[in-house]
Amino acid sequence: MRCLLLVPALLAVVLAQEPLLFRNVTLFDGETLSAGRSVLVREGKVATIGDATLQAAGAKVFAVDGAFLIPGLVLADAVRVGPSERSVWPQVLATDAHDAYAPQALLDAGITTFWASPGRGRFVPGSGGVISLAAADAGGGVQPALPAVHVVLSPAAFNPPHIYVPAVPPGPEDRPGIKRQLPRTRGGAAMAFRELLEFARNAAAAEAAELDEDERGAVAVFADVLAKKRGLRFRADSVEEITLAIELAREAGHAPVIEGGAEAWQLAKELGSAGAALILEQPSVDAGKSRFGEMDPAADAAARLAAAGVRVAIAPLNAEGELLWLAGRHENAGFAKERVLRAITRGAAEIIGAEAGLVREGASADLLLFDRDPLAAGTRPIVVVAHGRVMRDRSAGSDSPVAVRAGRVLPGDGTVLEDATVLIVKGKIAGVGRGITIPPGARILDLPEAVVVPGFINAGAQTGVRNLREADGEAVTDASLGALGLEQPPSSFFDAEQDDVESAAAGGVTSLVLMPGGGRNVSGALSLVKCGSAASEAVSAKIAGVFSDFTGRRHSEQEVDGLRKILDGAKKYFESFEKWKKDLAAFDEKNPPKAAEVSHQVTRSKAPEARTILGDAWRGDVWAPEVVAEGHIRCIARFTPDKDGFKVKVEAAGRDPFEGTARFDGGELVAEGTVAGKSFVARGALTRHEWSGTATLEGKVAGTFLLRREREAPKPAEVKPADGKSAEAAKDGSAKNGSAKNGEAAKPAETAKSDEPKGRPKAPAKNEAMEAWKGVLDGEAPIFLSADNERLARALLSMLRDEFDVRVAFMESRLLPELLPLMKELGVAYASVSAPVLKREGRDWSPVLEAARAGVPVLLAHRDSARLMDIASHAVQQGLNSDDALRMLTRWPALVLNHQQKIGGIQMGRDGDLVILDGEPFAPATRILHVVSKGRLVPLKEKE
């Protein structure tokens, strides 16, 4: 009857839908995984499943590299009703509590179908049913699946309250009656259940028992259970409870369906022979190895139960949104990927009797698109489709071009562009200046009064950190990190969808240095992440530096030596690879390798070795619409080394060549000279492959340029073991699986041994913790150093700069006046994590101001990313130059982090990160109008 009601509404929805095409995905269809498939969705259903070349006119196409497509997740247990006064009240339908018009948080987690459960707080709390999350105007979404009566056998449901029965209508002599309810014990539960069955079978017995109205209703429901018109489901965790559930289900003539099942693995055989279905909610999946080196039997419960023939679904206890995370844990514990995926889709759907969990032609299109393995840690679907309609879409964030026309653009290099346009295509800056052609379909922000500055960089915070761990058997989310060590970068705890990330982005922070907690001389790695951009590209660098915390330590040789030894060790570690490489090359020269040799090449990307790199030709565009009629000039640049730098000649067809000299200045390459008798300066960041920046003609900014290296050097292979998967697993996998991971990490050296000639040098053992030092020792990634003892700080700074020549940002404000001359001399930056104004000897004193005046680059950091601009504004009111304030938020952190080619400026080729202000930057009344992060407009919540 109810489904009939939904039909017209569903039809209306279906007719309005555009077809969707998911092209070239790895498809899990509910049973098996297969690569290179395409799926076409039409009118709410899967219309065609084809190969990677499938085409469909007029369809919205989702083509994401390395994408996975799986059925919408099926959550087999989602509590929707709290405990009522009655111990036995199967008439309650949990599906009634579903509000199809409320925002559906489950869709964020990729759950499109769930079992609305009446809870666990009463013996028979009600009946559950299937809800399918369609669009709200499709009307509810209660599926016509068989509801099932829940019977809770765990102690949480015992000792129900007394019922007070008022007389209707109330009279003076009527006293409220008290009714006591069962059960108090498991025995009482069994008795109460058997009594209900007896009443349902035997009307005369029910008559004699003088039941009240609600009790008669309950008996009627149990009659439906006996007639198989309603299902039966038990909650049972311990061996005793599960044994009782099997027995009671048999008495009622049903195959046991059990949720919970913490100790079910001990009864795998019994459950298997009873034809049981199990919704496994036991939380301690990854208990790992026990003290005796054995796998904890509970950890691989899913695998054991499935092997015994039990139908298994996986569901989290209480934490509904963590279904994927939990599934990933089960995979780690040895349940095969396809089995795990089945247990949260088709397998779960079969157990709850839902029409869901399959990708088949003609089936309802509930689909999830992932940009990586769905079971990898921290993964969320980027597209969620329910009944053929896109409910969540995080894939297309930066696709359509964005053009900002503004009164002023401050690209971050000290120049000012009046009435300029910034064009962002595919998340990157594609043009800055006047008269830029805006491609069709671009989103245009026309803001003649606005000032555009680069997206801000918060140099240190724990914004967006979501630390999932287990406490007392339940998943707990923590919003802070302790010291992590180098094996696990903080980015693995980053969740770009957290509210505080959104508000950070709304506050103009588009990049963020994630810091681990302090307290150790190597507290952990720093990660560079994006705020406000598409979730799939949130992590810019897993390891962007190292945090070294000496706060509270006194000066001693041992302290300094401790860090020195670590760095020395790392240096030796890398040298061992270098040596191995040389040995290998020498060996291979003597014994030419056969074809199909597995490469063990390990190279490190190095700082641009200018002389080698600039030896090549550089080709690209200068975008100067005001100077040249056609807007941009294609040109080729050639550098020749000279005694203090380079000579440079830039040629463009049919134009006067530019000739001049080039030198490095503050991490950037600056070319100065003349073109057609006019002075010309090109200044920009240089990487191995790109040189991009701003071009100035006769002292006026004329445009931007982007040149690419013509002949690319052999592609630098990443440090990667031959077995690519294990590296991923090692990085993303749980830290608790430590022993297993180390075992895998040691594999690469052995992998290729089969065909290897004898005596071929073997690769040294890889060590994740050491790998983090690579960037630091190459002078590419900074060490953020904190020390509050002056002598210790001096010794550490000198050691790091003089002995290892690493980038350093010093974080302690109180020592700043004393240390500034040394920092300046050594070239150490200051990362300000404290308030911009402090009290010192009774007077206001701003370390930021002080450092900026002394010519030390400053990086601004604040715990609350959303307040970063306020902090800078505050410093400006104290007398800081607003240009310097802008540098502290953009260019300086980008330089110190060695990401100047990507962030911290508005130049061609960099990330499309913009903050659009309604007035002078850092003036007290200035507000943020818009924030663009990698070309995506960040939604700004209006504050009350």
Partner: protein, 405 residues
Amino acid sequence: MLHWKLLALVVISATLAPAQALLLRGGRVIPVIGPELESADVLIRDGKIEAVGKDLASDGEMRVLDVRGRVVMPAFVIPHTSEGMDRPNEMVPVTPFLSVLDSLDSSRPFFEDCLRDGNYTIAVMPGEMTIIGGTGTIVKPRGLAVEEMLITGNAGMKLSLMPMSGNRAGHLAKLRAALDDAKRHMEDQQAKHAGASDVFDMDAFQVEQRRREMVRMLRGELPAWIACATAADVEQALRLEADYKLDVRLVLGNDTWRAFARLKGRKLPVILAGEFQPREDDPETGKEVVRNLPQLLKEAGVRFAVTTAPGSLARRYMWYQAASLVRCGLSREEALAAVTTNAAEAIGLGARKGALDKGRDGDVLVLTDDPLSGLAWVETGIIGGRVVYERAKDPRLSEIFGAGR
């Protein structure tokens, strides 16, 4: 002593004798159905409207009221209120056997205000703090005894889907239990006494007194008025309609607007009982948004009636409500219909009330100004062709404003 008796006789005869025919001469007539007429007449005879038009002939028998410069329109219809009783709900949530008839209090100031404000048809229903609240009734605001006021006895059963203890599933379980119980009783009695009558007869089938109104509702003889607070409640109301074949009337609160699209084309009587433009925090963006409910209903193609808001200074006037609807984007005609014809239809009196048309009840207002001007007062109120209110003689007003008023 004698003159007291005489006076009493005069009063009684005035009440009992058929009313004199009444001709309203020369006013601007808003019939609500059909175009407005300048300087037209309305003739009421035997309690019913006999004619609306220009230059109607008068005879010596008629009482003629000169209403030139005044506006003549049908009296307003309040399609849903819980005023006029001592309290809106019982303490027990399932009380289908209660009737508003037993708790109406004709002496409450609400009815006096209705007389003054031109609300001459009032559907008094049990309140929302209930599951099944009992039956409501439709009255006019004149008369000392309830029987005197009565237009329709038991006009409908009041159901509420607003969860009383925050437990929606439990609320609905209780509601269904009560419906199922009545259904079972109805079927049992019918089967037991099948020979007693060919048609369904409550007495012959010995249907229990306490369950009779529920049985009438399940048989479609008594409408079910379902109060909904949220969009999900509307969904449940539609399910109840389908599952139990109820004759449903919806009483909609502020948060129901998300379900308006679901009412499209269903022709269910709808009463907008909440605010017209409630504010809410959008759950997706967190922004405060004003929702224009009348406009949204109009866009969904739903005809609806509005009602008064108890305790509100301005919103207790139906003309203020109509004017607010115009501000919300409805046309003048739609706004006036929402307080007259639509409201009458919603309570099953579509043929009798809400418009100036031949054959309808002679419930007419003479206003000092256009009803949407915001400055209008009821100068003369007429129920069933009888003048029941004259502002000039309003004792309460003269008490407040002095004799000069």
